[in-house]
């Protein structure tokens, strides 16, 4: 076992739920070689909410795709509950950035949420129960019979979150989930994420390019370096469990942490530019 420092706020004796070790991803052939991930190490413990931020162009999506088994890394591995990930594991559920493209427009909201459950050996009633429960958790009980295109963007992303919850994963992986909704909806969805995480005691890994969002949501913020990507810094966010859009964001601690993350990213962006 490599001696990575224990995650903040978690008893060190507990093994991490997800452990990324020396992940390298190289695209292309010899001529068009492009190194995207250059040895990423990352531990996420059960119940943690970890936000990953980095300058645009850092391989954030590539990292998530490797972690979730959608993409084979060039070197290194992701270990989930002690098993190396080689294909999408049932213990992970993804929430994609583009909700309008990840939901099936020809299915009702409820059918969309039930869709991933069709592969599990559970009865029709149980399927429906889980879907309805998940939809209730995201506040969409009234929209079960509607179709995705009848809903607003924020509501569609809630459907996608419900679909992930009904799948009963051990960890939720979210790829810039709120990047394409308006500011108010975004704040609502952030709070929904915190609420759902509390309700299900869910482990969450969330990629975002929004520093405020990362600090507001995370127990820990992982700052990635510019391309090729490494973990530059891991910052513990000591803002307590219960957070509020207004009060939390105006505390001096929040402002300080936000500044710290911003500085790390800025410096990196500058470094990348001068390197070019």
């Amino acid at each position: 076992m490599p001696s990575t420092p224990a995650a903040p706020g978690v008893p060190p004796e507990q093994p991490p739920l997800i452990s990324v070790r020396g992940l390298v991803k190289r695209y292309g052939t010899k001529d068009t070689d492009r190194l995207v991930l250059d040895g990423v190490d990352l531990d996420v413990h059960k119940g943690q909410l970890v936000c990953i931020v980095g300058p645009s162009g850092a391989g954030k999506t590539t990292l998530l795709r490797c972690m979730s088994g959608l993409l084979a890394p060039t070197a290194g591995e992701t270990v989930l509950e002690g098993v190396t990930v080689t294909a999408p594991p049932p213990a992970l559920a993804l929430v994609f950035q583009d909700y309008s493209r990840s939901l099936m427009p020809w299915m009702s909201v409820r059918k969309n949420v039930e869709l991933p459950l069709l592969g599990k050996q559970i009865s029709k009633n149980e399927r429906r129960r889980r879907a309805d429960e998940a939809l209730a958790a995201v506040g969409l009980t009234g929209s079960r019979g509607q179709y995705p295109w009848q809903l607003s963007g924020g509501m569609q992303q809630r459907v996608a979150i419900a679909r992930a919850l009904a799948y009963r994963p051990h960890a939720l992986i979210m790829d810039e989930p709120f990047a394409s909704v308006d500011a108010q909806t975004r704040a609502d969805l952030e709070d929904l994420t915190l609420q759902v995480r509390e309700m299900y005691e869910m482990t969450v890994i969330l990629v975002t390019h929004d520093i405020d969002e990362a600090v507001y949501l995370g127990d820990e913020v992982v700052v990635l370096s510019g391309s090729p990507t490494r973990v530059r810094e891991r910052i513990t966010i000591d803002l307590g469990r219960s957070r509020d859009q207004l009060t939390t964001k105006s505390t001096p601690e929040f402002v300080a942490l936000r500044g710290q993350v911003l500085q790390l990213i800025r410096r990196d962006r500058y470094a990348t530019r001068t390197a070019d």
């Binding site: 795709r65 979730s68 088994g69 959608l70 999408p88 049932p90 992970l92 559920a93 993804l94 994609f96 583009d98 493209r101 990840s102 099936m104 427009p105 020809w106 299915m107 869709l115 991933p116 069709l118 592969g119 179709y147 295109w149 009848q150 679909r163 799948y167």
Partner: protein, 266 residues
């Protein structure tokens, strides 16, 4: 749903108006044909009255069962085979880009051979009879369906594919709940092309190798110089083609109702 009834009514009146508009020109043409041909003595252009009485004698319903029904049956069977083969092959090729690339030249070649050129070969292989009809219909109708399905499957959003993989959606569920509905509009577009092609091909095949069918009857009429009968057969084909189109349009509306409402502003 308080706004539903008046909305329905305006929609109904609009439909009625469209239908009336659609009927006006054909009726005018028919009336013109009727009067202009009434005193015709040309053996090639008999009066419409003669053609219609011939139409009634031949097709209502003396030869309907013995000739029109076989044509429609062959059409239906051949078309269904084409749908199954075309959609299945399109999905397989669409899901395996490498295979599709390898198969592309062959597909383009076979598809480019005019079906008329293949009829003699088909006749040699299968002989005169229903097997020949069904085979050539199926063969010709398969291509537009296959190529359109292939396009549709290829065009499925990468996010949808990522979703299906990461949530481990089983293959059959994926096929029937994701792939086919996603490619649905393309599949239907291919079927639409295939329908009209199949109608032409069935008549064509009956002209060269059949013992019954509408095409066969037209050919017999031509051999015995029964000009009015030839025209009557053509009218029947026109009517059938029109009806098939209507049935298909109904099917299309039904099959794509989700896709259609999706485009409407909600």
């Amino acid at each position: 749903m308080g706004t539903q009834p008046p909305l329905m009514r305006t929609r109904l009146t609009r439909h009625a108006r469209n239908l009336a508009l659609e009927l006006v020109l054909p009726l005018v043409l028919l009336v013109l044909w009727w009067f202009l041909s009434a005193r015709s003595t040309s053996p090639y252009f008999p009066p419409l009255a003669t053609i219609l009485s011939q139409f009634q004698q031949t097709w209502l319903f003396a030869h309907f069962l013995s000739d029109a029904v076989p044509t429609l049956q062959h059409l239906a069977v051949g078309f269904c085979v084409a749908v199954v083969v075309g959609v299945a092959a399109g999905i397989v090729l669409g899901s395996l880009p490498l295979l599709a690339e390898a198969a592309a030249p062959v597909l383009e070649f076979v598809r480019s051979v005019p079906i008329a050129a293949l009829l003699p070969a088909g006749l040699l292989l299968l002989g005169i009879g229903p097997a020949f009809q069904i085979a050539v219909i199926a063969f010709s109708a398969t291509w537009p369906i296959l190529l359109n399905t292939l396009d549709g499957v290829r065009g499925i959003d990468s996010t949808v594919l990522d979703f299906a993989r990461s949530y481990r959606v089983p293959m059959l569920v994926r096929l029937f709940r994701i792939t086919i509905p996603a490619a649905g509009p393309n599949i239907i577009a291919g079927m639409r092309v295939a329908v009209s092609l199949a109608v032409s091909v069935v008549i064509f095949s009956e002209l060269i190798g059949a013992t019954d069918g509408i095409g066969y009857q037209i050919l017999q009429a031509q051999f015995s110089f029964a000009v009015a009968d030839v025209w009557a057969g053509i009218i029947l084909l026109g009517i059938l083609g029109y009806l098939i189109n209507i049935v298909f349009r109904g099917f299309e509306l039904l099959a794509l109702r989700q896709h259609r409402s999706m485009r409407k502003p909600s």
